[in-house]
């Protein structure tokens, strides 16, 4: 599959999983998808290992768009991206977009075969 992968990163595992459910309902299996949420103890927060694993799961040669909720989710996602092997790093982008709505829109855009840049843009333009 060469559609752009979608990774959902929320402080809350419930939010991340629920958003993934909404994505699946919209695009079925047409898009690689993974979610992660919670700190390493399972509390509200995010963790880099979980994000790296999700990127691996949703990996696509077309790249991966990461949707995050607030502050720490973004910082941890950017940290995770920098820890990727160099050949993957440039093909993963963190979107400046709402986590739930952005994930649904980005996945819908991806399911049509759009580029990583177009997928990111679609999510970022939703409230613009």
């Amino acid at each position: 599959m060469s559609n752009v992968g979608i990774v959902i990163v929320s402080h809350s595992p419930k939010v991340a999983e629920g958003a993934a459910d909404m994505v699946r309902q919209m695009v079925g299996d047409a898009v690689p998808l993974a979610w992660t949420g919670g700190d390493v103890d399972g509390g509200l927060g995010t963790n880099v290992a979980g994000i790296l694993e999700a990127i691996e799961t949703a990996w696509s040669p077309a790249g991966v768009a990461i949707l995050v909720d607030l502050g720490g989710a973004e910082t941890n996602s950017e940290m995770a991206v920098e820890m990727l092997p160099e050949d993957r790093r440039a093909r993963v982008l963190v979107c400046n977009a709402p986590v739930v709505e952005g994930a649904v829109i980005a996945a819908t855009e991806s399911s049509g075969g759009s580029s990583l840049a177009a997928v990111k843009r679609s999510a970022e333009e939703f409230y613009a």
């Binding site: 390493v40 509390g43 995010t46 963790n47 502050g71 910082t75």
Partner: protein
Amino acid sequence: MSLDRVARERLVRALAASVIEHADELTSLDQAIGDGDHGLNMKRGFEAVLAALPGLADKSLPEMLKAIGMTLVMKVGGASGPLVGTFFMELGKALPGQPSRADLVAATEKAIEAVKARGRSDAGQKTLLDVLVPVHAVLAGGGDAKAIAAEAMQAADRTTPMQALRGRASFLGERSIGHMDPGSRSASLLIGAAVETLELGVNT
């Protein structure tokens, strides 16, 4: 500045103790203007660092700092994890095994720049940078351990009247004024522990 294995282990334990013993204070600072997890976050991170002892202290100083940074990045969980973790990692990358004071000044400057880039932030926004930046100035100006520790504490205090422009506290707008920034408090604790252990003199 020369640190043998014993001194390295003592440094690690002092850093960890400084935040772990103040976890409740850090949490209540974060409750006032954030989500109330900063104490827990830092405690989790530094407990993982302690768990890497004694092996951790077998490493050279630069490698040890990088390992501490990576552990904090992986374990802390909050926005502070990648920020404080990046600081330690970049310090480790920039320092030689037996650093001079000039090396320390240059390396902390690089590490601070990396924190700014990671947080898209700068001093003046009520974050740990409001401790790191002025403390670096005292270090660069030749201040001794006492002067550095005093500046760290005062810098954290000076975040109280500031309005937060980064992180969750910024959601509070003007209501973030009047509370000390939790990340600045933990940074000042870590710096205090470090300089005390290192017994940094004016020329070392």
